[in-house]
């Protein structure tokens, strides 16, 4: 399975998860982005590890304001009171968990079993280091969701992912 298909699968899964869980719409890739991640003030990042037929890490990075909005949407709250109702990382961690849970069977098939670890917060610099990993199985998508820049990254063991995905 080539990188383009993995990227398209990740994009499709992200669209479904964010729409269903957070009523958030992924902007069309053709639209001119309003801002980039690095120009967006405080960035929150979360990661999780998975093991199974192939092993790896998934991560998400998004502005704090975006996390507040999706958290507000998830709880159907008014946005001026939302911040006190949840840990600021919680919406991103949970959405990452849902994306990973949908992505792995979409890539490998539902017969394969994966163990997905609990999501944890990471510093932005650590996230940036992860994105600099240039192995062939790296899948990075750079999106705009509700006009906010959001990145999702999957790094997998290059040999094992190819073996599973080719099978």
């Amino acid at each position: 399975m080539d990188a383009k298909i993995r990227q398209e699968t990740l994009f499709k899964v992200v669209c479904e998860v964010f729409a269903t869980a957070a009523f958030a719409v992924v902007d069309s890739p053709e639209e001119e982005p309003a801002t980039t991640l690095k120009d967006s003030g405080e960035i929150l990042c979360a990661r999780l590890e998975f093991t199974g037929p192939f092993c790896g890490v998934m991560a998400i990075a998004a502005p704090r304001e975006f996390a507040k909005i999706v958290g507000t949407n998830m709880l159907c709250l008014e946005d001026d009171v939302a911040d006190i109702f949840f840990d600021r990382y919680d919406p991103l961690k949970e959405l990452l968990n849902m994306v990973c849970g949908s992505l792995l069977p979409a890539l490998a098939g539902p017969k394969h079993e994966f163990a997905i670890g609990a999501p944890e917060e990471v510093a932005f610099m650590e996230y940036v280091k992860m994105t600099e990993d240039k192995n062939d199985s790296r899948t990075l998508i750079d999106l705009h969701i509700e006009s906010f820049p959001v990145e999702l990254l999957m790094l997998a063991n290059p040999e094992s992912i190819e073996m599973v995905l080719e099978a």
Partner: protein, 137 residues
Amino acid sequence: MAFNILIVDDSQIIRKIIHRTILMANVPIGLLWNASNGLEALQVINNEWVDLVLLDLNMPVMTGSDFVEKMSEKGLIDKVPVIVVSTEGSESKVERLLEKGARAFVRKPFTPEDIRKTVREVLGEWDGCEDTAGDSF
């Protein structure tokens, strides 16, 4: 009749969403407990009367699968219905949990209607269960 409900998820936001969904579904709630992992949930199960558990799988300290295993060992899994609410995508893993005694599985991301329907299937009918706010979900 009111049901004592235990919601087990390491995400505070998901616990709140499930609670809200249950309220919207007009499930009569007696007592409600929250636990952020399987170990905390076991402590509740050991000390309180619980009518329904809504259980995540991927949690730190003790996973939902281990919690189901412990409930099975203690002979509680047939007495306290467990609905697994998880991102789990593996068919075989879900089948194993159902074989172990979990009553139902709801995949995240879920809609409030998914939770409402499943809770109703597992708990059966209750007074006022027809008066749900289904259209406003």
